[in-house]
């Protein structure tokens, strides 16, 4: 049941999305088939010929469509046939086609897969951040702030220590990202452990502080000739190569413009480390004990305060690593725009993945598919790509209500059985 809930939530969310698409995406077009239908419905040929010139024109607005046909056929005919014509001209978008376009763009070939992996990489990390803290009973919604702090640290190291060779600079950048994110994450951990302040409020506030701070730092390290608010470029040695560099020599044809890069291995390593840390080490055991029951953990001699701070620091470090993909793998500079929202999406990823490391990977892939596939529907369908955000929000809602929903369903079923017996 535990693993079923997210799948049910995804299905329910897609159904909700389908209803929205069916209800709101309407277009009025006069096509050959419309004219044939109208002929069959006994609309005089003379009337049809008058609106023939509008053939193939798309209207999303009913009023505009009716105004145009009325001006062509005259008010008298319009009163008689107008409603019928708009009825036949109305077409709705087929939600299955929309979803098919999303998944086709994301999964039909290697290129699509590559983009999905590129988009999933930072989400795996920000999702892990939330999931890890959750194991300690902490709700870290400060992923956004920890991520931009880490991202900036990565960039700063990348454009400052330009003399270092790649095998020193790349690990140094990664460490800097993890350290900055971890430090930023340990602040709410410390405030929770020592002052008893709930981490949800402090992490929200620290998000916005971090965003403002990095925006200031971006302007401080902006190349003077640049009009765009971004920092200096990181050294060549700090840039990660895209995967085509390795795949093409192996005979696997991979597009050079595909953004998936070696940062994906950092994300996979983070997943493995999390799984190992939580299940196989003393630290992981203590963190889970604190999350399960802090009072009992304290009695058993586990230092709750220390583990709270540590869990938040590790959580922040994961979020801080998201910049490896965004900066070292893609933009090569710091700019808030390439990070915006990834930290918040991580919360959704963690919840849909039921706060398990591998669950986060699956959920991040789903978000990656939606994000990349969403770009395609703008072109191939009449549905704005923001439907993807609606889908994400609805999945999230259904995931969190699923526990109570199944409990109620079971209750009802049990009562029925009792009544029958």
């Amino acid at each position: 049941m535990g693993t079923l809930a997210p799948i049910v939530a995804v299905v329910l969310a897609f159904l909700t999305g389908a209803v929205i698409i069916l209800f709101f995406i309407r277009t009025y077009t006069l096509t050959d088939t419309t004219f044939a239908d109208l002929k069959e419905a006994a609309v005089p040929i003379a009337v049809i010929e008058k609106i023939r010139s509008l053939e193939g024109k798309d209207y999303s607005d009913k009023a505009a469509f009716e105004e145009d046909i009325a001006s062509r056929m005259g008010d008298k005919d319009f009163q008689q046939y107008g409603a019928m014509i708009s009825g036949y001209a109305l077409t709705r978008e087929n939600p299955i086609r929309v979803y098919h376009e999303i998944f086709k763009a994301a999964l039909k070939d290697r290129n699509g897969w590559g983009h999905v992996l590129y988009r999933a990489t930072p989400l795996i990390l920000t999702g892990l951040a939330v999931a890890f803290a959750f194991q300690c009973g902490l709700f870290n919604i400060g992923g956004e702030g920890q991520m931009v702090m880490g991202g900036f640290a990565i960039t700063w190291v990348g454009f400052t220590f330009t003399q270092l060779p790649w095998f020193l600079l790349i690990p140094l950048c990664i460490l800097a990202g993890a350290a900055a994110g971890g430090l930023w994450g340990s602040i709410p951990g410390y405030l929770k452990a020592k002052r008893g302040v709930h981490e949800v409020v402090t992490t929200i506030m620290l998000n916005w502080i971090a965003v403002a701070l990095t925006q200031y730092l971006t302007m401080a390290f902006k190349p003077p000739e640049s009009w765009i608010p971004h920092t200096y470029k990181i050294a060549k040695a700090a840039q990660l190569s895209r995967l085509y560099v390795y795949l093409n020599p192996l005979g696997i044809n991979f597009s050079r413009s595909n953004l998936v890069n070696t940062a994906i291995f950092v994300a996979i390593a983070a997943v493995l480390i999390t799984a190992y840390l939580l299940k196989r080490t003393k630290l992981g055991y203590e963190i889970r004990a604190v999350g399960f029951n802090p009072a009992a953990a304290e009695c058993a001699g586990i230092n709750v305060a220390k583990n709270t701070v540590l869990a938040m620091a590790i959580s922040g470090a994961f979020a801080g690593l998201a910049g490896v993909n965004q900066v070292m793998g893609y933009k090569h500079r710091f700019r808030y725009g390439v990070f915006e929202g990834l930290g918040f999406d991580g919360i959704g990823v963690a919840f849909i993945g039921k706060n398990s490391p591998w669950g986060c990977v699956l959920a991040a892939l789903l978000f990656g598919i939606l994000d990349h596939g969403g770009l395609a529907i703008d072109v191939s369908t009449k549905v704005p790509r923001e439907i993807v955000l609606v889908l994400k929000a609805t999945i999230l809602i259904f995931v969190v209500v699923s526990t109570e929903l199944t409990k109620r369903l079971i209750n009802i079923l049990q009562k029925r059985e009792e009544a029958a017996a």
Partner: protein, 299 residues
């Protein structure tokens, strides 16, 4: 000199309105025991709805009403998820933010084919707007400012002086005790969250109709969170929230007059830093309602 002081004061008040309204919304919700970080999303939806409805119907007051209704609808969803389904209140709030960010742009593409929509109307008070003195006043301080001030005073009265307010606070402090006295915990929490939606929707309408005069993708830009900060800094009281809203509004208003040495980003941080300070008792002490964030189980 005097002129710029007046200009700063007027724009302080203008900036304070959305913070105060959203903060008040948060106060109603949190006093009843439900965290509402979805204020931001409710505000954004209100901002879009008010402009869309104003442009279609031609009446800004109808737009305002529609924004309040949409806010209430989102509040109802948040209440259903958190109170009836006992789901995580933070995740539900976050989902509302994501939903609002998507659905507002979705409809602005569908209805207007662009993501920046000019508001074709303003809130005008019948009769009063005809008088030159009031016309001048309203051009500096929009009518909704006065409505907001009235709501602040009324909220203080409602929360601290009425039976409804007492019940609202009691379900947020100790729902079991309230339940044994025959107070419906669910009903009170639903009311608190729906009121918070209405006020946030209104804050959004103010933002797009009266402040910016247009709607643009993501216009709320974190103001819902500053509202949340105002509520905490104001210690969950209407007057405190309004005071904090004015303080944060002042920071925003004084920005263009500051010397270049002070980076504007540091002014932006002030509300959040102050909130962390009051929570850690570095200055004063802010204690949230006791039962906040915990779903109530009747059995």
């Amino acid at each position: 000199m005097i002129e710029s002081i007046f200009a700063i004061l007027a724009s302080t008040i203008r900036f304070a309105v959305p913070y105060t309204l959203a903060g008040l919304g948060g106060t109603y919700s949190e006093r009843s025991g439900v965290v509402n970080i979805g204020l931001e999303g409710m505000m954004l939806s209100g901002a879009f709805t008010s402009v869309a409805v104003t442009n279609i119907t031609g009446s800004a007051w109808t737009g305002l009403l529609a924004a309040i209704l949409v806010g209430m609808l989102l509040g109802l969803i948040h209440a259903a998820v958190c109170v009836s389904f006992k789901a995580d209140q933070i995740v539900s709030g976050l989902a509302i933010i994501i939903f609002a960010a998507g659905i507002t742009v979705f409809f602005s593409w569908l209805m207007f084919n662009k993501t920046q929509i000019k508001a074709e109307g303003m809130l005008r008070v019948p009769f009063l707007h005809e008088l030159p003195a009031f016309k001048l006043l309203f051009s500096q301080i929009p009518p909704l400012v006065f409505v907001t001030a009235a709501i602040v005073v009324a909220s203080h009265f409602v929360i601290f002086r009425t039976v409804f307010g007492l019940r609202l606070r009691s379900v947020g402090e100790h729902p079991q005790a309230a339940d044994t006295l025959g107070i419906s915990v669910y009903k009170m929490r639903y009311s608190g969250v729906i009121i918070s939606g209405a006020l946030s929707g209104m804050a959004g309408a103010y933002l797009s109709l009266e402040h910016a005069h247009y709607f643009v993708k993501g216009i709320s830009g974190g103001r819902g969170f500053i509202g949340l900060a105002s509520m905490i800094f104001g210690k969950w009281t209407p007057f405190g929230t309004a005071g904090a809203g004015l303080l944060f509004g002042f920071g925003e208003a004084v920005k263009p007059y500051l010397p270049k040495i002070v980076p504007s980003q540091f002014i932006d941080m002030i509300p959040y830093i102050l909130t962390i300070f009051v929570l850690t008792s570095a200055i004063g002490r802010a204690t949230p309602p006791a039962a906040i964030g915990v779903p109530y189980n009747k059995e």
